[in-house]
C-alpha cells in the first residue's frame, strides 16, 4: 500500500516560490491564505537553507485527533482532508498542527473565524470527485486523476518530492549517494515518526 509523503531536498530548494504560487493558482486559494510556503533558515548566513512546507499529512495526525466536530479525516494513503460543511472555525487544529498548516480567513473573533482551509494533497474533499462544488471548496482533485500534487510536479529543481514515501525516499537516497551529501528529510520526524528519538 502506498503511503504518500512530502520530502523537500533542502540542498536543492532555491526559494523560487513556484510551489506556493502554483498551488494558489491551481486551487484558487482565497486572499490571505496560503497552503504551501517557503521558509528560509539562517537567511544570509553560512548554511542557509530553504524548505517548502505545507501540511505534511502526518502519521497519527494531531489535527484529526483534536477536531471537535468530524471535519478532519485521513485516508488510507495518509492524506488528511477536511470537510468545510461541518467546520466550526474553532482553531484547535491550528493549535495542534506542528507545521502551522491550517489557514483561516482573516482572523477575528472566536465564532467568526470562518472555516478552515489547508493543503489537500491535491485530493479535493468529501464532495464528488472533479465536481464544481469540490473545486470551489477544496480546489482541484489531481489524485483522482492519478496525478500527484502540483507543487511537487511543478518544482523546477525537483527539490520538492511527493508520492509514496518509499519511492521518493529511494529517489532522494540515490541523489544523496550521487552527489555525496544530503541534509536529510526535514520535518519527517515530527510528521511521520513522532515516537522516534
Amino acid at each position: 500500500m502506498a503511503r504518500v509523503k512530502f520530502l523537500c531536498d533542502t540542498d536543492r530548494c532555491i526559494e523560487c516560490n513556484a510551489c506556493s504560487t502554483s498551488c494558489k493558482n491551481e486551487h484558487e486559494v482565497p486572499w490571505g491564505m496560503v497552503r504551501r510556503r517557503v521558509v528560509t533558515i539562517n537567511d544570509g548566513h553560512p548554511g542557509e537553507k530553504s524548505i517548502a512546507i505545507s501540511c505534511m499529512h502526518c502519521t497519527d495526525a494531531p489535527c484529526v485527533a483534536v477536531c471537535p466536530v468530524s471535519t478532519l479525516y485521513q485516508t488510507d494513503i495518509g492524506v488528511v482532508l477536511h470537510d468545510k460543511d461541518t467546520c466550526i472555525g474553532c482553531g484547535y487544529c491550528f493549535y495542534a498542527c506542528p507545521f502551522g498548516a491550517p489557514q483561516f480567513p482573516r482572523a477575528t473573533l472566536f465564532g467568526s473565524r470562518g472555516v478552515m482551509d489547508k493543503c489537500t494533497y491535491c485530493a479535493g474533499g468529501p464532495e464528488e470527485n472533479g465536481s464544481q462544488a469540490e473545486f470551489e471548496k477544496y480546489g482541484r482533485n489531481r489524485i483522482a486523476e492519478g496525478k500527484l500534487p502540483i507543487c511537487a510536479e511543478v518544482c523546477s529543481t525537483r527539490a520538492l518530492l511527493a508520492g509514496d514515501g518509499e519511492v521518493i525516499g529511494e529517489i532522494y537516497r540515490e541523489r544523496v549517494l550521487a552527489r555525496g551529501f544530503g541534509s536529510g528529510a526535514w520535518g519527517w520526524k515530527t510528521a511521520y515518526y513522532p515516537e522516534e528519538a
Partner: protein, 414 residues
Amino acid sequence: MTDATHGSPASGGSGRQSFAAYRIAGAVAAVILLALLAIQVFEIFDGDNHTVPEVRWGVPPVSGEQTGDSSLVASSILRERATLQGPRAEFGPSPNAQRTFQVGSETQLVEEPIADPDPFLTQEWSNPSDEELAMIRGTDRVEGVSSLPYTGAEVFERPFARDWRLGLADFATHLGALAILGFAFLLALMLALRGRMPIVRGKSERKVQRFGLIERTTHWMTSVSFLMLALTGIVIAYGDTLILPFGDGVLGQTGWLATWGHMMFFPPFAIGILAMFVLWVRHNLPSKLDLNWLAKGGGIFSDDVHPSARKFNAGQKLIFWSVILGGGLLVLTGMLLMFPFWILSINAMGWVMLAHAVVAVLMIAVILGHIYIGSVGMQGAFWAMWTGKVDRNWAAEHHDLWLEEIDGKKGAAR
C-alpha cells in the same frame, strides 16, 4: 407556592420527612453514573487514541466488474506516478528517456468510507525502515524567514503542537469527563445514602426575606449564562462522543450553534461575575466561624447538627470564591482566545486554551454540587434564590447568626 416540596410524592405535610422518592431517584442516578464512569475509565486505557484512516482510495470497477484489490491498484497508480520525479536521464525531457509522462489518462481514483477502520495502518506508518531512520533529522530548526506576506509564514516546525494535542485530547478531555461524572456520581450517592436534608423542626410557615431582587437577578443571569456556556462548551469538547452518533451534519450544525452561543453568553456571564463580587464579597470574607463549620462538615452527616453561620456559611463561601476566581479566569482566558494574535503568540494561545478547558470542566463539577445542595439536596434551600423568602425554621437551622442579625435590625427599627 409556599411548600418547597409541593407536588413531590415525598411531600407528606409539615414535620420531618423521609423523602424516600429522592433516595430512590438518587440510587438510580448513581447506578447510571457509575456505568458511565466505568465506560470513561475504559476509554482512557483502551488505546484507541491514535488517528485512524476512515476513507480509502480505489479504482472504479471496469464495466461494472471489480478486478483485483481496488486499493492496491490505486496505490500502484500513485507509485508509478511518483517514479516520474526520478533523474531526468531516465524520465522526462531527456532524449534518452525510457518513459514519457502520461498526462490526461483515463485513470480515475475514487474514495469510499472504510466500514471498520483499522488502527494497524497507523502503527505500520509510525515504524520507519532503516533507510528512513537514517534520513530523519532532529527538530532544531523551527523558524526562519519567508518572502510570503502571511501571518506565521516564517514558521517551519512547531513540535510543541504534538504535546498540545495530548494536553487537549487526552488530558483535559478525560480529566473533565472524570471530574463531571465522578462528582455527579458522588452527589447521587449522597442523595441515596444520606437522603434529602429536611427542615428538622418542620416548616413554620413564617417567611423571612433572604435575597433581594437585585441579588436574585444577578444570580439567575449568571447561572443561566453559565449553564449555556457549559452546554455549548460540552458540545465543543464532547460532541465527538455525544452528538456524532446522530451524524456528521448534525454535529457540524450543533457545533456551529455552540461556537456562536459560547461567544454570545459570555457578556452576561462576565457582568454577572462582577456584580456578584460587588454584592456579596463583604459577606464572604473568611472568619473563625468557617473553621468550626468545616470541622463539623457543615452538618451534612446528621440532620441534628447545625454549625452556626452568618449570611453565608463556609460551603457557600467556597462556592462564591471558586465562582469569582474560576469564572474570572474563564472570562480572562476566553477573552484572550476571542482575539487571536492580538496579544498572544500561537504557543501562548495553546497554553491559554488548555487552561480554559481544564478550569471550565472543574467549574462545571463544582457548580453541579452547588445546584445539588440548592435544589434536591436540601429542603427549603431553593426558595431563597427563587422567591427570595425562606422559612424561619430553615433560616434558624442553617443561618442562625444571620437570622438573629436581621431580627435585631428589625427590632431596632421598631
